[in-house]
């Protein structure tokens, strides 16, 4: 068992996602308590006091984000749950959408009350079919029960929640690109400032939070900030949903208490590396976070401080386990093809740079690599860092720099020998 749990606290059954089951677990009692006992500003204070950091990748404190929104300023405010889960390796929000949609809705109602929001949105990636149907079903159940779009519990607060589907675009997971997409346009990210909490959806103050971040809100308000802070580490409270995939015996979504030992998680909770092969390295939180070797993760715990101390990040919690014998050149090729495919084309360094990097890695794999290619990859990575509107230019660079820093010898080998040191293997070998 990977520590205390805050989200995966019930048995998943054929009906555990329904309103009746959620209510039987105490659902929608917290929003009632909040509406009766707290002022909107008190809710934000409680969330700030809990110290919860965003679970989408940037780890920005949710309370601070909410605190920027001026209440009673005469403007409409909007709230949007980011369910555009698309960072490769990440599939944790899907668990909430499929199994605990009402927990998300109740948490969003609490957030909407705190932020004076009358219309909230869940922007869900277009490919998610079952998660969308579960969410849309929950919204209809809640509407029929008078929980959405109608005054609640004798107060004058009401909020409607709309499930809005994307149509296939990685960059729409970036908060400002998401809002532009929600406005019915290409999902181009926007320059900041102004922050989205100042000018967001249709230029109105808008809070965009990750699904998992929001799903924690009901628990924080039900049990208090102090109870939340008692879980996890002092600087990084709570739990994380970790989606683990790749060369691991038991891939899936796990809830861990922040600060849980990393190797113990892989070896005991997740059954170890596939086929009993030795561990080569791990991508901690989606492919945009830097790879860490088996030796590097050995002493680490799963919390921001520990992982950032080793030069990487917990990111979106999308952990990819990589076994010995895996070809890192081919792995980087898959990543760079992805970034090239997903560049929205708005900023020159990313639009051109992703194409250059993709062509260079393809050339190396085709056996036509040149000795200067690796420095060229590093140069383009540096050039992209911080020169684009959103973080995607930086992200492709992190992935590249991370792999080249630790496995440059595999690239040198391929360029010199015109073949992979590991037969181009991406799949795990049968045994060690």
């Amino acid at each position: 068992m990977s520590g205390r749990k805050l989200l995966m606290t019930f048995d998943v059954t054929a009906t555990s996602h329904t309103l009746a089951d959620y209510r039987a677990r105490g659902g929608y009692q917290t929003i009632e308590k909040v509406l009766r006992e707290l002022k909107p500003g008190d809710v934000t204070k409680e969330v700030a006091a809990s110290g919860i950091q965003g679970r989408g990748g940037a780890a920005f404190p949710a309370g601070r984000k909410w605190g920027v929104v001026h209440l009673s300023d005469g403007q409409p405010h909007y709230l949007c749950a980011n369910a555009d889960e698309g960072e490769p390796g990440t599939f944790k929000d899907r668990w909430i959408l499929e199994y605990a949609p009402h927990l998300l809705l109740e948490s969003m109602l609490i957030a909407a009350y705190a932020l004076e929001v009358r219309h909230a949105f869940v922007y869900i990636r277009g490919e998610f079919d079952l998660p969308y149907r579960r969410l849309a079903g929950a919204i209809e159940e809640a509407r029929a029960a008078g929980l959405l779009g109608a005054p609640l519990f004798g107060t004058d607060f009401s909020c409607d929640i709309i499930a809005h589907r994307g149509a296939g675009s990685y960059v729409c997971g970036e908060a400002s690109g998401l809002l532009t997409s929600l406005e019915g346009k290409r999902g181009y990210p926007r320059n900041r400032p102004p922050r989205l909490t100042v000018r967001g959806l249709y230029q109105q103050p808008t809070v965009v939070n990750n699904v998992e971040t929001l799903a924690n809100i009901a628990g924080i308000l039900a049990n208090g900030a102090a109870a939340f802070k008692a879980v996890g580490t002092a600087k990084n409270p709570g739990t994380r949903l970790i989606s683990i995939s790749g060369h691991v015996e038991k891939p899936g979504v796990y809830e861990i208490e922040i600060g849980y030992p990393w190797r113990k998680f892989i070896d005991e909770d997740c059954g170890g590396v596939q086929n009993g092969v030795a561990l080569k390295c791990v991508i901690p939180g989606g492919i945009s976070t830097k790879v860490l070797t088996a030796a590097e993760i050995a002493p680490l715990t799963l919390d921001s401080e520990s992982v950032e101390g080793a030069g990487s990040s917990m990111g979106s919690g999308g952990m990819i386990v990589i076994a010995e014998g895996t070809c890192m050149v081919r792995l980087l090729q898959v990543m760079l093809r992805f970034y090239h495919h997903e560049s929205c084309g708005q900023c020159t360094p990313c639009r051109e740079g992703m194409g250059w990097m993709h062509r260079i890695i393809d050339r190396i794999v085709a056996g036509e690599g040149r000795p200067e290619d690796l420095d060229q990859l590093l140069r383009i990575s540096r050039m992209n860092d911080g020169t684009t509107i959103c973080g995607m230019g930086d992200a492709a660079g992190y992935a590249t720099v991370g792999i080249l820093a630790k496995y440059r010898d595999e690239f040198d080998y391929w360029i010199a020998q015109k073949r992979s040191r590991y037969d181009g293997n991406l799949e795990c070998r049968r045994s060690s």
């Binding site: 490919e127 290409r186 683990i244 995939s245 899936g252 997903e342 991406l426």
Partner: protein, 154 residues
């Protein structure tokens, strides 16, 4: 094909006033469900209905990977080949599908039954490799199970 205006009106009523532009994606999704792709007359009709510029709809259609401007086979096989799927056999699955169907990426079988495409991360890495067939995810796909997968889509 006339637009399903009653449905669109109901959708419009759910969104805040002044959010007509936001309906571009949901309306296009619905049009594509009905026709299989989005045709030129649909763009004109939707631009008129929502009061948004035609070019905005064209931009959206050419930006998002799920929108289609022409028809595909009855079953659209979309093989994820991102990191986690490749690590679990997606490249062999793609090769095998291509061989068995006798078509390459982006092509449709002569009988119009299957179109084969590759896609990037579907957010289902824990059950890799994943093949999306029309709207449905098929998870933990193996080369051995491909015959059954194809037979299940006549």
């Amino acid at each position: 094909m006339p637009l399903p205006l009653a449905e669109f009106d109901a959708l419009r009523a759910r969104y805040p006033r002044g959010f007509e532009s936001s309906l571009v994606l949901p309306c296009l999704r619905r049009i594509q469900e009905l026709r299989g792709f989005v045709a030129d007359p649909d763009i004109d009709a939707l631009a008129g209905y929502l009061g948004v510029p035609r070019v905005q709809i064209e931009e959206v259609l050419s930006f998002y990977t799920q929108f289609k401007r022409e028809g595909v086979g009855r079953w659209h096989l979309m093989v994820c080949r991102n990191v986690s799927c490749s690590m679990r056999g997606a490249e062999r699955v793609l090769d095998q599908l291509s061989q068995r169907l006798g078509i390459g990426e982006g092509e449709t079988t002569p009988d119009g039954r299957f179109t084969l495409s590759t896609v990037e991360c579907l957010g289902s890495c824990g059950t890799a490799p994943v093949v999306m067939v029309n709207d449905a995810y098929h998870e933990n796909v193996s080369v051995e199970a491909l015959d059954a997968l194809l037979a299940g889509h006549p």
